[in-house]
Amino acid sequence: MSASYWDSSQRNRWTLTRAQLLDKRQEDIRLANALEVTQLHIYFANFIHSIGKKLRLRQEIVASAIVFFKRFYITNGFYHTDPFLTAATCLYLACKVEELPHHLKVIFTESQAVAMAAKVPFSYEYCDIAEFECYLMEELDFYVIVHQPYPTLSRVFEDLELERSCLQTAWFLVNDSYRTDVALLYPPHMIALAALYITCVLNQASMTRDMKGWFAKLNIDMVMGRGNGCLWNLCPLMIISHALGSINLLMATAPVSKIANTRASSFTRANTPFVYSWGALADAAGFSLKLLDIVQDILTMYEIWSSFDDRKVLQSLDKLHKAAKEANLV
């Protein structure tokens, strides 16, 4: 239902396991590879972000649009659709759903402008978006109400009276989380907590509240006495392991050294006066493992994003289309 995530279509119809998601993307991955498919998803999240930015759309609309896009590509492949049309249509529909409708012409013109800036042909007409909107609705199985991490995030910051500057960081982290698949895999409040978590690790020096203690307590409460804020220890560990390039806990294909170029560079500056122990991982029960997964996904995404070349990503798209044609899939 619209008020409760627990009864929502998002939870009951549109949440997948990682294995399911991987399975759905198999064809794309077979024609290209896993990294390229991940990069394409980041690219199109960026594309939607750019249009949203030009139109000064609210972040909630952009977030819903990206969720629609990702859901569309659960049942469809990049290999036999044009994601530029899908992306523009997702944004158009999201504006309606979030009750801030924009004229088709406006969305169309901006989409075309952003595509042109990326030297991509966008050879459609208005009616193509209008028509595709119906198909998109159908692909979404007509479930379009999206629950997002933003309300939880604001609520927690308010309740804990945390620094406003930190809210900003956490908010950006949530925005960026839409470049990962976490919105398809985890409940929005978990994503909010993961963003809060990373924020706290980064800013613990400047935060007045004992957030480590808070997370530890949260952990115990939620997993019946197991875990001792272990993730708190683990997060800096992951960051450090990345920075050192010693253990690649995350994506095997991603170059670790590039991390310094990204927004994630600040992670390496994180103060980490904790005892790191792999035992902590074993101790973590469901709740903290989920949190860990989300944190990990976000960090991985920054890493992939940092080593990103738009032109190369677009070449993978062409490669996909070509391979599909050759394999007679289209």
């Binding site: 239902m1 619209s2 008020a3 409760s4 009864d7 929502s8 279509s9 609210r58 909630e60 609309i61 036999h80 659709t81 044009d82 530029f84 049309l85 158009y92 529909l93 309606k96 759903v97 979030e98 009750e99 801030l100 409708p101 088709l104 012409k105 030297k119 991509v120 042909p121 966008f122 050879s123 459609y124 208005y126 009616c127 193509d128 978006i129 209008a130 028509e131 595709f132 909107e133 119906c134 198909y135 609705m137 159908e138 007509f142 479930y143 379009v144 109400i145 309300p151 032109r311 677009l314 070449q315 798209l317 062409d318 289309h321 070509k322 044609k325 289209v330």
Partner: protein, 394 residues
């Protein structure tokens, strides 16, 4: 570095064509699953048909509820019939109704079974309802010339409130409650319908007024809306329920004003006549009754009105003499001027009126063995000759 599309065998627009074909092939036809029995009504949104499932095996298990095997198919206008879809795609109201109904699940809210895209038109397949409240009040007024029994009125009101408590708890405002939108099954189960104006009001990205300048059919429109409120609450739905409650008892709209039409400049007109109708019965609002009234944009207009005393009790004695005094108390709580003091749907559900006999029931028509003339179903194509307009009034 080459441009995208270079060396590509398939142009993007051809991919759209291929996608379209693939999609159409996968889709089964509505007529394969449902038998269209006839045409019910039409409006600016499109038309509604009555249908029956072709697969009738399931219905054997459900024979206790005769409505369940029949369906209403609401077909939103397709491209062929208007240029709209070319330039706007899915209408805002179709988008709202589909997205909300898809998430809502309640006995007293219209039941959406599935949505289908066919020939570029969206179709909502819903449970069929034999009656609506407008039809039933008309029948009592014009044919039976007798009030609706209090047991039935109370049962309808209770269910209507029950559905509204659910909507409001889920941060949904209906914004178009009126007898024609209160659907009723043959057994007397209320199904609140037409969520085309409904929206989620939790954390709106912009003031509600900016999205829709005019909400609620004028006879059922709350005074805060008539006075130009930019922010409004669930209390607007409660006012409408109050008007519907009064209409069920009196068999006539309580505030039957003349709507001032939108002028060509599309400024929102001031509804002087509607407010007069309200003031005549409820009295002219004062700051005592409604402290924040002075903040409303159209408050200055109030000086143009005569001063009326509160005549609700007299009105009630005249038109609702068969109903109990508790009914009057509940009615006046719903027609409270100040939206902050107006009873909420949840409080109304717990009102003493529902504790006293006759107690409300879930299937009042079944219990009392009452039936009304069935909904008229026209042959499937007859709508083409005369298409009634769906005005703001019924």
């Amino acid at each position: 570095m080459g441009k995208r599309g270079e060396g590509r065998t398939e142009a993007p627009e051809n991919m759209l064509q291929a996608y379209r074909k693939r999609r159409e092939k996968r889709r089964s036809r509505i007529r394969d699953k449902y038998e269209i029995l006839g045409f019910i009504s039409s409006g600016t949104y499109g038309r509604v048909y009555k249908a029956r499932s072709r697969n009738r095996q399931v219905s054997a298990k459900r024979q206790y509820d005769e409505d369940k095997e029949e369906y209403a198919i609401k077909q939103f206008k397709s491209e062929k019939e208007g240029a709209t879809i070319m330039t706007t795609g899915i209408s805002q109201s179709a988008c709202r109704e589909i997205s909300l109904c898809r998430e809502l699940q309640h006995d007293n809210i219209v039941n959406l079974l599935e949505v289908r895209l066919e020939d570029k038109a969206l179709n909502m397949i819903m449970g069929y309802t034999e009656y609506d409240l407008l039809q039933i009040t008309h029948h009592h007024m014009q044919h039976l010339r007798a009030p609706i029994p209090e047991f039935i009125v109370k049962s309808f009101l209770w269910q209507l409130l029950n559905g509204m408590v659910y909507l409001h708890a889920n941060w949904v405002l209906h914004r178009d409650l009126k007898p024609a939108n209160i659907l009723i099954t043959a057994e007397g189960v209320i199904k609140v319908g037409d969520l085309g104006l409904a929206r989620i009001f939790r954390r709106p990205l912009q003031p509600l007024y900016n999205g829709d300048k005019v909400v609620v059919t004028v006879w059922y429109r709350a005074p805060e809306l008539l006075l130009g409120a930019r922010h409004y609450t669930k209390a607007i739905d409660v006012w409408a329920i109050g008007c519907i409650f009064a209409e069920m008892m009196a068999l006539r709209p309580i505030f039957k004003g003349e709507e001032a039409k939108m002028d060509p400049k599309k400024t929102v007109p001031f509804q002087q006549n509607q407010l007069t109708k309200i003031f005549e019965i409820m009295g002219t609002p004062t700051q005592e009754r409604w402290p924040k009234i002075t903040y409303l944009p159209d408050y200055p207009h109030l000086s143009q009105f005569r001063t009326y005393p509160n005549n609700l009790r007299q009105w009630f004695y005249k038109y609702c003499s068969k109903f109990s005094d508790t009914a009057f108390q509940l009615l006046s709580a719903m027609l409270e001027y100040d939206p902050e003091r107006r009873i909420t749907a949840e409080e109304a559900l717990n009102h003493p009126y529902f504790q006293e006999d006759p107690k409300p029931a879930l299937k009042p028509l079944l219990i009392q063995n009452v039936s009304y003339p069935k909904r008229r179903i026209a042959p499937e194509d007859s709508h083409r000759e005369h298409v009634p307009h769906r005005g703001t009034k019924h």
